[in-house]
Symmetry: C2
Subunit: 144 residues, 2 copies
């Protein structure tokens, strides 16, 4: 029941791009330094985000990445699902999951469905914009 580093890093990566956005591309090197994550690993992760159109890339010196949309447009769910796959606790309740011949008599599936709904209702109602706001509040605390 764990979220892998890939999903967690993706979230921090996207948050970093949102928080440090100045209208100019942000290099992975900077993100890696701030977030203390291997730059090489971030490359793999942002590649997914790039192909999915969540960010756009600018190559060459002074290049980097930028969000393609406003932070409020990215739910945590969309970011996590892109990197982690379906968040369902078992494959038989996934959106495009495997079908199971035991399904009709299976009682545990109700539990998995409820867990699935509970998780989704959390991640689909939090956006990057919320997280940026939290970040600002944190920052305020330390400035005072």
């Amino acid at each position: 029941m764990k979220v892998s580093t890939k999903g967690r890093y993706a979230l921090r990566l996207m948050l970093d791009l949102a928080v440090y956005n100045t209208g100019r591309p942000i290099s992975l090197k900077d993100v890696a330094k701030r977030q203390q994550i291997s730059e090489k690993y971030l490359e793999q992760i942002i590649s997914l985000l790039n192909k999915a159109g969540f960010v756009r890339s600018i190559r060459g010196p002074q290049g980097g990445y930028m969000l393609t949309k406003a932070p409020g447009e990215y739910t945590v769910g969309r970011i996590l699902r892109l990197t982690e796959g379906d968040l369902a606790p078992v494959s038989c309740v996934e959106k495009d999951g495997m079908e199971c011949e035991r399904r009709q008599g299976c009682v545990t599936v109700r539990i998995w469905e409820q867990i699935n709904e509970a998780v989704n209702s959390v991640v689909d109602h939090i956006t990057l914009a919320d997280m940026v706001e939290w970040q600002m509040e944190k920052a305020d605390q330390y400035v005072i």
Copy 2:
């Protein structure tokens, strides 16, 4: 974010013991047959449940296992946590989890906490007795 077979099988195993309880021990062979799970693998799983006192074992011929408490006393959460460990989506929000030096500045932790609470509130409010009831309803549907 998946529950492993170990946790899923443990749940079905406990449910089987609850549903087919007649006051006499139930052998793993029978459970394995009904649930279509490897008997050898079930041995490993029930060993955990046994050591935790969730079931008690009777050895020898006509031996097997029995629940030690009423089905209503077992929450899904307790069964899953025994086999899966803490259900938290990241270790830093586990009950006895690792501490993280990034913690104070970390914003994503709020998300993991909310997911954790959402999952716990599902699994800690469903008991084996509920599942037995669901099973009965299912059975009724097919008898009619």
